[in-house]
């Protein structure tokens, strides 16, 4: 017991002397001691509502502080990742600020250390589609590194189903404007039949301002998917079409989707029209009709109403807009009680 107490005190001494937190020691008993000794919320501060605990003012002290954990045990990227995995495996007890600290350190290592990145890429290849793979993807996705992109593209094309889904998600996270990636995704959209893979690929198309011919190629690949039998594929395709449409004709599938039998697709189409580069009076008329239809689902009406705000409106359209706004404002006055007095865990 004394040994554990000394371990905890020593760790605190190292960690807090620098104004930083460390990650807990690995030994469960020492870790428990560490947690008991570590201040949950440092320093005094106001408590407005909720649990009776105190927090300091901004700038007073940095508890998690984008920090490099200074635990000597965590010298390698493998150990950092293992620590992150352990915390992620126990979400009910893990402290978010400590997880953030370890993730920040991991990101730093991957950016600065080529061998660390090589290890992480190998690890992602081996674990893509599993919980640890997903955890790694969150960090790799922030790197914007060509090696990460290349691996994701490779697995998206040639991996097993799980790997392909995980790789598509990683490509989505990377969000790199890249013609090669775009063309690979378009090939997949033209040939893939698995709805889940199609849906994942539809979230992955890199944005950008391509030359007109390429933009046309994108919309041509997308348009058949707006009539796909799976509503989620249709919804995502409609969103993508609206993003890539360069004229009113390009928006035709989106307008058509406003009458889809799926409420999710109709709501998606309404939202998509708010983001579309091309805006026409015909689009305003279609949106206005959705908002005015009392039998329409609220989610569709609300998205259509928000979309209307970007258009110059005539008297009739404005009357529809204003009437819905009055109703919307009234509903917005209702609040739910914050869960004050309940658990002090993260909300």
């Amino acid at each position: 017991m004394i040994k554990y107490a000394l371990t905890a005190v020593a760790l605190l001494g190292v960690g807090f002397a620098a104004g930083r937190l460390t990650v807990p020691p690995r030994d469960p008993q020492a870790a428990a001691l560490w947690r008991r000794a570590a201040p949950e919320e440092p320093g005094p501060g106001p408590v407005k509502r909720g649990c009776n605990r105190k927090e300091p003012q901004p700038g007073a002290w940095d508890p998690a502080g984008e920090v490099v954990p200074e635990d000597g045990h965590l010298e390698t990227v493998q150990e950092l990742f293992a620590a992150l995995e352990r915390m992620a495996a126990n979400p009910a007890t893990a402290r978010r600020d400590l997880m953030d600290s370890v993730q920040a350190k991991l990101l730093h290592e991957l950016r600065e250390n080529p061998s660390a990145l090589a290890w992480a890429l190998g690890r992602f290849r081996a674990t893509a589609g599993t919980e640890p793979g997903g955890l790694l993807a969150i960090t790799l996705g922030l790197l914007k590194d060509p090696a990460v992109e290349a691996l994701a593209l490779e697995l998206a094309g040639n991996g097993n189903r799980q790997q392909r889904l995980a790789a598509l998600e990683l490509l989505d996270r990377l969000d790199i404007e890249n013609r090669t990636t775009r063309e690979a995704i378009l090939r997949m959209l033209r040939t893939e039949t698995d709805p889940e893979l199609l849906a994942a690929a539809l979230y992955t198309i890199p944005a950008g301002v391509p030359e007109p011919n390429e933009a046309r190629a994108v919309t041509e690949a997308l348009q058949p998917l707006t009539a796909h039998e799976d509503p989620e594929v249709r919804r995502r395709a409609v969103l993508a079409v609206a993003e890539w449409a360069r004229d009113a004709a390009g928006l035709e599938p989106v307008l058509k989707a406003l009458a889809d039998f799926s409420v999710d697709v109709r709501a998606g189409a309404a939202f998509a029209l708010a983001q579309a580069p091309a805006a026409t009076p015909e689009v305003l008329g279609a949106l206005s009709a959705r908002v005015a239809d009392e039998k329409e689902d609220w989610a569709v009406r609300e998205q259509a109403w928000r979309a209307m705000a970007r258009f110059p409106m005539d008297q009739h359209a404005y009357a529809v807009y204003a009437a819905f706004k009055a109703r919307h404002d009234a509903i917005g006055e209702q609040q739910e009680e914050a869960q004050a007095g309940g658990s002090c865990r993260d909300h």
Binding site: G50, A60, G141, I331, D346
Partner: protein, 303 residues
């Protein structure tokens, strides 16, 4: 009273609790409101001459009124019954505003089943006295209202949809399976990201964390995040730094984070409340509340 004493005392308490809700006018120029029925209880505020509140309980010479978010006690000497209609709040929690419209500041909240004397109207809005001030609440959430309908909440058959792991103006810092939400949440976040990017092309992207699981339900370690209406968002740095951040960090920007809340989140989403612990943010904004453990993320709840 002998043995009957405790029984009578209980009856007296019961009678006090069963008092009808009655509008009462303040007859003193400035009257203290206390937390309990007696001069020994702390003063929690003041009410003023001719203001009207609703009385609903009594203990000896003291009368309990709906004063603000919580009730308070005043001495019976300084109030008198008055013929002013009173109404009960039907919402779970109702915004109280400084003026008759959603553009005015939220200055408090009235609890479900609290009672208020309605002393005036402006359109759909009702004028009340709240914590010694003239305030306004929306009439759709008060009983005995003849506003012509519209009091039911939105009904939707739409399912949960997934947030893409990145998009204009934002990135995800959690697993994609933890980012499912209602359409108003997901499209709201996308709209916030786009608006953020358009207004601040050189500021860092917004970090978006947990929303809900695919079909909602229990989601440890969260207490909430079960209905697709809650999202965690990282504070904004004053540099281009993208990653974990707390309000205690030298990189943290109170200014940018407040801008994110007021100019983007509040404009593009149906914000119910925000939990966040920077006093420079929760101080001036009525819908932002302090809550423990919210120094490294904003918790945004929509309706």
């Amino acid at each position: 009273m002998g043995k009957l004493g405790p029984v009578l005392a209980v009856l007296s308490l019961s009678a006090g609790s069963a008092l009808a809700h009655e509008s009462v006018k303040v007859t003193g120029s400035i009257v203290k409101v206390r937390s309990g029925p007696g001069a020994g209880h702390p003063v929690i505020g003041h009410i003023y001459l001719n203001q009207v509140y609703v009385k609903f309980d009594a203990r000896g010479d003291w009368r309990k009124i709906w004063y603000g978010h919580n009730p308070g006690w005043v001495h019976k000497e300084f109030i008198t019954p008055v013929n002013v209609p009173n109404r009960r709040v039907t919402a779970s929690l109702l915004n109280v505003r400084s003026g008759p419209g959603p553009g005015y500041d939220i200055v408090g909240t009235a609890k479900h089943n609290s009672w208020w004397a309605v002393v005036g109207s402006s359109g759909a809005w009702r004028k009340i006295y709240f914590k010694g001030h003239v305030r306004w609440v929306h009439g759709d959430y008060l009983t005995a209202q003849s506003s012509g309908g519209g009091s039911t909440g939105p009904v939707s058959a739409a399912g949960f949809i997934q947030l893409p792991s990145s998009g204009p103006g934002y990135y995800s810092y959690t697993y994609s399976y933890r980012q499912w939400g209602r359409p108003s949440m997901i499209y709201g976040l996308k709209a916030v990201g786009l608006s953020w990017k358009n207004h601040h092309p050189n500021w860092p992207k917004i970090g978006i964390g947990d929303i809900s699981l695919k079909n909602g339900g229990y989601f440890p370690p969260h207490v909430s995040h079960q209905t697709g209406k809650d999202v965690d968002i990282r504070p904004v740095s004053k540099t281009g730094y993208v990653g974990p951040l707390t309000i205690y960090s030298s990189l943290y920007s109170s200014y940018r984070t407040k801008d994110l809340i007021t100019q983007h989140i509040k404009q593009k989403m149906n914000v119910n409340l925000v939990l966040f612990n920077d006093p420079n943010v929760y101080g001036p904004l009525g819908y932002v509340l302090y809550y423990p453990n919210h120094h490294h993320h904003l918790h945004v709840r929509i309706w």
